[in-house]
């Protein structure tokens, strides 16, 4: 894609990521990408397609299946002067790489008295799409609780681009969470080079009766639920957090003060989840409001279509939760 500011094109989610990464590799000679099948193959979702041809094997590096070392190398390289993007196909496999990420990267700047910084992005694909118990988890809440890590999770093409741009400019480790079900989506992206700053949520749909606070693919689910609810005259506001750490509490609170009702929605587990944190922070600031949390049921996510569907939030469940929330009040 050659730039043509002002012009807007329809692009796939993967193209938005690819453009942001490509621009960074162009602008920063010391930036590199590492991951399984990110080279000639172009990434599991083609989200790195063409980068290998443009920047060569030294800067777009295929790695062995060794998530721990991939992140460890990314951390070390970033700490020693390269800007690194490490791609891990599924979020489940970051479990193999938490030692370098949490025990080293997140703490390096603090523990060295500011001598070392780790400008690294770890890109993880969360969510379920028929891939079974060890390829479907959404573990954002874990990473959000680690001091020193920033966590972002786009729900659409523009944010996929803008958040990746920001992530690749950060001076500390960033976890960039995308989602299997977002890759088939497309959306408008203008040709200007622009960042989406961290810590800024977006109001994707204004509404009066309840605030649905969510992120990543669940934004699409929330919007679909709003359509269903609108039919029965219920008008919900949808807040897309975009950045989970730092969290934009102000935007959430503005919405909840207006609607008086909060539904938190996430694809991961509810227990100790993002929703719990938001519910607590909102109430600490606003006082008691009607709150409900929705997320996966407490069970593994099977690849079985019947069971997967039974496990995860969908538009009907979200709509139902909103109705119950409003009835309670």
């Amino acid at each position: 894609m050659s730039a043509d500011p002002g012009r807007t094109r329809r692009v796939f989610f993967r193209e938005a990521i690819c453009r942001a990464v490509g621009e960074t590799l162009d602008a920063e000679p010391n930036a590199i990408v590492m991951g399984q099948d990110v080279g000639a193959f172009g990434g599991s979702y083609k989200e790195f397609y063409g980068l290998f041809e443009r920047f060569g094997p030294a800067r777009v590096r295929d790695t062995p299946v060794a998530e721990a070392a991939m992140v460890g190398l990314g951390v070390g390289a970033a700490a020693a002067g390269l800007r690194t993007l490490v791609s891990i196909t599924y979020m489940d496999f970051v479990l193999l790489a938490l030692d370098p990420l949490v025990n080293y990267a997140a703490k390096a700047r603090f523990k060295t008295g500011g001598q070392i910084r780790v400008p690294m992005v770890v890109k993880l694909t969360a969510g379920a799409k028929g891939q079974g118990v060890a390829h479907s988890q959404s573990l954002e809440s874990w990473l959000v609780s680690v001091p020193g890590l920033r966590v972002v999770a786009p729900s659409n093409v523009a944010d996929a681009y803008g958040l990746m741009r920001s992530a690749l400019q950060a001076d500390g480790p960033v976890v960039y969470v995308d989602h299997k079900r977002l890759f088939p989506t497309s959306g408008a992206l203008d040709d200007s080079v622009h960042e989406v700053p961290f810590g800024l949520a977006a109001v994707c749909r204004p509404g009066r009766h309840a605030s649905i606070v969510t992120h990543s693919y669940m934004v699409c689910v929330a919007l679909a639920a709003c359509d269903q609810l609108a039919v029965s005259g219920i008008d919900c506001e949808v807040i897309d957090l975009r950045s989970l750490a730092p969290l934009d509490l102000a935007t959430v609170c503005t919405s909840v003060s207006k609607t008086g009702a909060l539904l938190t929605l996430e694809e991961g587990q509810v227990v100790c989840g993002i929703g719990a944190e938001i519910a607590c922070q909102v109430q600490a600031r606003l006082g008691p409001v009607r709150v409900m949390r929705l997320g996966a049921v407490p069970a593994p996510v099977s690849s079985n279509p019947v069971l997967e569907a039974a496990t995860l939030p969908n538009a009907a469940r979200v709509a139902d939760a909103v109705r119950r929330l409003l009835m309670e009040g």
């Binding site: 099948d37 790695t63 299946v65």
Partner: protein
């Protein structure tokens, strides 16, 4: 090895090939990881196992499951998500399992089953019935630290564990040479004093011969062993993955087809007649048709099962 073993092997390989082609013709089962081309590895290794042994494998698990003797109908049911699968349709592709049949099962995390298999071996060691655990994994798993940790402990504790690397030369799109520094993957076993060898994984007799020798070694308390089988996968990484290899490479690979190879050899050796060969194929096709029918007649699990057996 006798000719009857060979004919069993041929039938087993045909069963895998046939079931997988029935499977890939379906559109209702998501993507699948096929073993086509690599049948000789699972079949050759399984031929060396006893009933009390346990086989574990990677997500590429159809050949291992069938080679270990699981019922094709139930395997098919599991793969298409039906309740009569051994895992009640919950495990599905990548997580086939039936420990009662000596198939502890698949685990779809690359290298994730290695230390689990060593644990199974530890449990079997305590039994003193000379049973062993066998773990099948891909070349991709050889880049993972799990292999190192597992080999070290298995060697130290002299665990009854046979590690079998089904080296199909690729991890998704990444050629083995771009992902793994060692000349031969079986060289990885050497520092630990683990007995190892590399064989042609497209020749079921070679695989079986080596598997018999190494299982004997493991079974008799000699400690773990490592078998590398160099194979070729005929299809792309999964039924939904892009193929990256050229036509020429794929054609050359097909020349090595382990089924044709064994069949030709048996015909040449007079151990098999064209007639019998055709009959065998017919039988296998009938088994697969029955398996598909069984699977399709089986219901999907009910949604409430999403909560079952979590505790």
């Amino acid at each position: 090895m006798t000719a009857s073993n060979d004919i069993d092997a041929l039938a087993a390989m045909l069963l895998v090939r046939e079931l997988e082609s029935a499977l890939s013709a379906r559109e209702d089962c998501g993507f699948q990881l096929l073993s086509s081309g690599q049948e000789a590895v699972a079949v050759g290794v399984a031929a060396a196992l006893l009933a009390q042994d346990q086989l574990l494998c990677s997500g590429r698990s159809i050949a291992p499951a069938l080679a270990r003797g699981l019922d094709p109908g139930r395997v098919m049911a599991e793969l298409i998500g039906r309740a009569s699968g051994p895992c009640l349709g919950r495990g599905g592709r990548g997580h086939l399992s039936q420990p009662s049949a000596g198939f502890f099962g698949a685990h779809a995390v690359v290298a994730g089953n290695l230390s689990i298999a060593a644990g199974v071996a530890l449990a079997l060691q305590a039994r003193l019935d000379r049973s062993i655990a066998v773990c099948l994994f891909g070349d991709g798993a050889c880049g993972a630290g799990a292999l190192h940790e597992t080999m070290n402990i298995a060697a130290l504790w002299q665990l009854p564990l046979l590690l079998v690397c089904d080296n199909n030369l690729y991890s998704v799109s990444t050629p083995r040479a771009a992902a793994l520094a060692p000349q031969r993957l079986s060289d990885l076993a050497a520092p630990f004093g683990i007995k190892a060898c590399t064989v042609d994984g497209m020749d079921v007799r070679s695989v079986r011969g080596a598997a018999v020798a190494l299982t004997d070694h493991v079974r008799s308390g000699g400690g773990p062993a490592f078998l590398e089988c160099v194979s070729r996968r005929f299809a792309s990484h999964s039924t939904s993955a892009r193929e990256t290899r050229g036509q020429q490479e794929l054609a050359a690979d097909r020349e090595l087809d382990p089924i044709t190879r064994l069949e030709k050899a048996l015909l040449l050796e007079g151990a098999l007649s064209t007639q019998t060969a055709l009959g065998l194929r017919e039988q296998v096709r009938a088994r697969v048709t029955a398996a598909c029918a069984f699977a399709e007649a089986s219901p999907l699990p009910v949604p409430d099962e999403a909560f079952a057996d979590v505790g």
